[in-house]
């Protein structure tokens, strides 16, 4: 199907089904119950799951296939966001031009950065990209304030030109839309005490993500992808055979930069605001974590990693000591306080600590990331089968 092997087609369909039914899957607990705290099926977080999924898929094309560790991918995300925002301010609140231009601008910018950074490899490459990203961040934060809004960032204003749009009704605010379908609009479905939210913006982002995922599968399976893997396993040997690897690595770099720009454009489309922090080095580090946590070089890994990190950031960080006290209210007073004190450092603002511990555990015990964990579990339940020597690398991490 779609020129995919059977195994890949199955994976694509699985992802499509998961994405389509995410509002159900992510909201397993009834409203008002104590466990509703762990529900993640609200529009903002679902949008973030798929957007950061795209970001991580793109990053994985560079890092997973060529082994080049870029520490500055957030810069492309940010540049894409600014481009999309300006399209919305100048042209139209329709998200299409914004998203298209964000991909193009990020592509051009990553071409420039990649052209220079790819002269080096290994740690030097990482440091160069990091330097570029920090440079972009500083520029956006202060020097380029007229263009980027500096600290306060950019938002659509009532007074923006929007030359393609009709004049706003009095009192209305500009809202991102897709030919009139507002990104923020949702339909809620109540079933007993369960409440499921279907958000227009989420499904737009989800469709884009599926397309991005499909393209990533095609790249992984193409001769071009094979060449990138060759770069990863031994670039020197490749050079000695008379091959110039630079065009391949540069192409991979630009493609992943465009993925980042696409994610940036979508972020603006879903939530019409952009600030310079989006380009800060911690944001670049985050996508590295996502990819490694999920499984470097696997197809589905980065998406899982992005989901895991965003889930912790948004759900774990909102548990405060009050909520803990209500959970453990059944314990005797002294014991309750003790248990709460034990858990408290790991929730709320301590979610970074939890993330760090999980990350360490994954790197030590599951070097292939969450995907490897899944495989190990699957193996437990699997009947002994003849040696599976599929060379496609779909489920095996590349290294």
């Amino acid at each position: 199907m779609f020129g995919l092997e059977k195994k890949d087609a199955r994976l694509l369909i699985l992802v499509a089904v998961l994405v389509a039914f995410a509002p159900f899957i992510l909201n397993p607990f009834p409203e008002g119950s104590g466990l509703a705290q762990f529900n993640a099926g609200y529009p903002d977080l679902m949008q973030r799951f798929v957007i950061f999924g795209i970001f991580a898929i793109g990053f994985n094309i560079l890092f997973g296939l060529t082994g080049y560790l870029s520490f500055g991918h957030a810069a492309f995300l940010g540049v894409g966001s600014y481009a999309a925002m300006w399209m919305m301010k100048l042209l139209t609140m329709n998200v299409i031009p914004g998203i298209v231009v964000s991909v193009i601008v990020a592509g051009v910018f990553s071409l420039a950065v990649g052209w220079i950074s790819l002269r080096r490899s290994g740690i030097y490459f990482s440091i160069l990209t990091l330097a570029f990203a920090q440079m972009s961040y500083s520029l956006a934060y202060s020097v380029l304030t007229p263009l980027t809004g500096g600290e306060t960032g950019l938002q659509p204003k009532i007074t923006d030109p929007r030359i393609l749009d009709a004049a706003l009704a009095p009192g209305a605010t500009p809202k991102a839309n897709l030919f009139g379908l507002e990104m923020g609009s949702s339909v809620e479905l109540g079933m007993g005490s369960w409440l499921f939210t279907f958000n227009a913006g989420y499904y737009v982002a989800a469709i884009v993500m599926l397309v991005a995922f499909y393209m990533s599968i095609r790249i992984f399976r193409s001769p071009f992808g094979m060449m990138l893997r060759a770069v990863k396993s031994n670039q020197q040997r490749l050079n000695y055979t008379g091959l110039n690897t630079k065009p391949y690595t540069l192409a991979a770099f630009v493609i992943s930069g465009m993925y980042a720009g696409l994610a940036g454009g979508l972020m603006v489309a879903m939530d019409t605001q952009v600030g310079a922090e989006r380009m800060f080095w911690t944001a670049s580090g985050e996508v590295v974590l996502m990819t490694i946590l999920g499984g470097v070089g696997t197809l589905i890994g980065p998406v899982l990693g992005a989901g895991a990190i965003k889930y912790m950031e948004n759900i774990l960080s909102k548990i405060n000591s009050d909520i803990l006290h209500t959970w453990f209210a059944f314990l005797p007073d002294g014991l309750e306080d003790f248990v709460v004190t034990l858990i408290y450092p790991f929730i709320g603002k301590g979610w970074h600590l939890t993330l760090g511990l999980i990350f360490m555990a994954v790197v030590i015990f599951l070097p292939g990331g969450l995907v490897e964990g899944g495989q190990k579990i699957a193996k437990l339940f699997k009947r002994k089968s003849p040696v599976d020597d599929s060379p496609d690398g779909k489920t095996t991490p590349a290294e």
Binding site: Y42, E277, F381
Partner: protein
């Protein structure tokens, strides 16, 4: 793969269960129900406290959260009632808001616009918060304010000092109690002129971001109006920790006043460097060299230690104020937490109460009703004297404190002394000078 065994009985059973699930009361509905976003339906109402719990302003955030918890306690009738007793409006009864018990959710802004908006959106979309408040930087305040305008909930800004929040980026659903750069400049300039003379030459070091620019501009224009001359204004990167290279040129210029438009850790470092370079012992043009810090906070004074002694600055509120409101607040905060509150805690506590009061007076949680109730609302007894919530830009107008570092602090909290309380008339400005458009209130879907 395990083999899938389908039996007729299994299929039938699954079918019956699934069918039963689907025939549960099922209905589709659009987001709107009571005419505005997140209308509270049960006997509780949820407020969202969005404060920096990690990052450079985590200290302020922790203090803000303490203040909010205190405010919720007082609104629900717990504790000693705090400012409810001194507040000039008596609409609040200590039985929650409109009889609904106040509950809250918290989030971490990380002092990043993106994280702050994500956190605020989850409060609105998931937890059903009807009001978002907090924050400790103008970038975050502007970002979250715009989000609340779009979503149709009220935003009560926490600590944000830039002119933009209620200036060019003002929104109908957003309200700010804290003062701004313009007011700092207007309050500070006369005191500086009175103490240091009218013929000073000022040298500005300014943090290279939005708040820095507006503060520098405010101080520059107000001091120049009184006869000062501005020798140079130099931008310093926000991430700078060593300011020595910026101090040396000052020694070579003929400036005799240094204005540090820095906040938080920036100010602590730049002031410490300036003192280490002996600027304060310098004589230029026969005058003693002086240093000025436009926006002071106790947490900053603590960081800079002995270096703040005798240095002028402005602040929104200080716990050593002796009016009834301030005393009551310091007392309840001190009883609960064991130390006096910071100005961030004060402004957040007051914002929470003002919101609750506006709902009570407006008779509804509808953002438009709240906005109407807060519009041109005059109140007293909250620690800043008579205060006006101006309708044109949703900015509070009240007296501004000019403070200076205390020469002989008696405790680690007693670091600033109040030099003068600048009357509100002196810091009032025309609402149109910063541009921007308030727009109409948005009650959401």
């Amino acid at each position: 793969m395990s083999k899938l065994n389908l039996t007729r009985r299994g299929v039938l059973q699954t079918g019956v269960v699934a069918g039963a699930g689907l025939t549960l009361p099922t209905y589709l509905r659009a987001e709107s129900h009571a005419g505005f976003t997140n209308a509270p339906t049960g006997d509780t109402v949820t407020l969202g406290f969005n404060v920096p719990q990690s990052g450079p302003y985590a200290d302020e955030g922790a203090d803000e959260l303490r203040a909010y918890e205190l405010a919720v306690e007082h609104l629900n009738g717990g504790g000693d009632g705090g400012l409810l007793n001194t507040f000039s409006s008596k609409a609040l009864q200590g039985n929650g808001i409109l009889g609904k018990k106040v509950e809250y959710v918290t989030g971490d802004t990380q002092t990043k616009s993106d994280a702050a908006r994500a956190s605020a959106r989850s409060m609105i979309e998931k937890d059903g918060a009807v009001m978002i408040t907090g924050g400790s930087s103008s970038g975050v305040a502007v970002a979250v304010q715009a989000l609340c305008q779009e979503a149709g909930v009220i935003f009560m800004a926490g600590l944000t000092h830039s002119n933009d929040t209620t200036g060019k980026d003002k929104k109908a659903n957003g309200f700010r109690h804290f003062f701004n750069s313009y007011m700092s400049g207007a309050a500070l300039a006369p005191i500086l002129a009175a103490n240091y003379g009218n013929d000073r030459k000022a040298y500005h070091l300014t943090a290279d971001y939005n708040w820095g620019y507006t503060t520098e501009e405010a101080v520059r224009t107000s001091t120049e109006a009184l006869g000062w001359e501005t020798v140079a204004t130099v931008l310093t990167p926000l991430t700078q920790t060593d300011f020595s290279s910026y101090i040396t040129p000052i020694l070579q210029s003929d400036a005799d006043v240094l204005v540090l438009n820095h906040y938080g850790g920036n100010m602590v470092n730049s002031l410490t460097n300036a003192v280490q370079f002996g600027l304060r012992d310098r004589m230029v043009n026969g005058k003693q060299f002086e240093i000025v810090v436009p926006l002071y906070s106790r947490l900053m004074a603590k960081g800079a230690g002995a270096n703040v002694k005798g240095i002028f600055g402005s602040t929104n509120w200080h716990w050593s104020l002796q009016d009834e409101g301030s005393k009551a607040f310091v007392k309840s905060f001190g009883t609960k937490y064991g130390f006096p509150p910071s100005q961030a805690a004060h402004t957040c506590y007051v914002q929470a109460l003002l919101y609750a009061d506006a709902v009570e007076r407006g008779g509804s949680f509808n953002p438009c009703a709240v906005g109407e109730a807060l519009k041109d609302f005059e109140f007293d007894g909250m620690g800043n004297g008579p205060t006006l919530y101006r309708g044109e830009d949703h900015q509070c107008f009240k007296d501004v404190l000019v403070v200076k570092g205390k020469e002989n602090p008696t405790s680690e909290f007693d670091l600033l002394e109040i030099v003068e309380i600048t009357p509100v008339s002196q810091v009032t400005y025309d609402a149109s000078i910063f541009g921007g458009e308030l727009g109409a209130c948005n009650p959401g879907a």
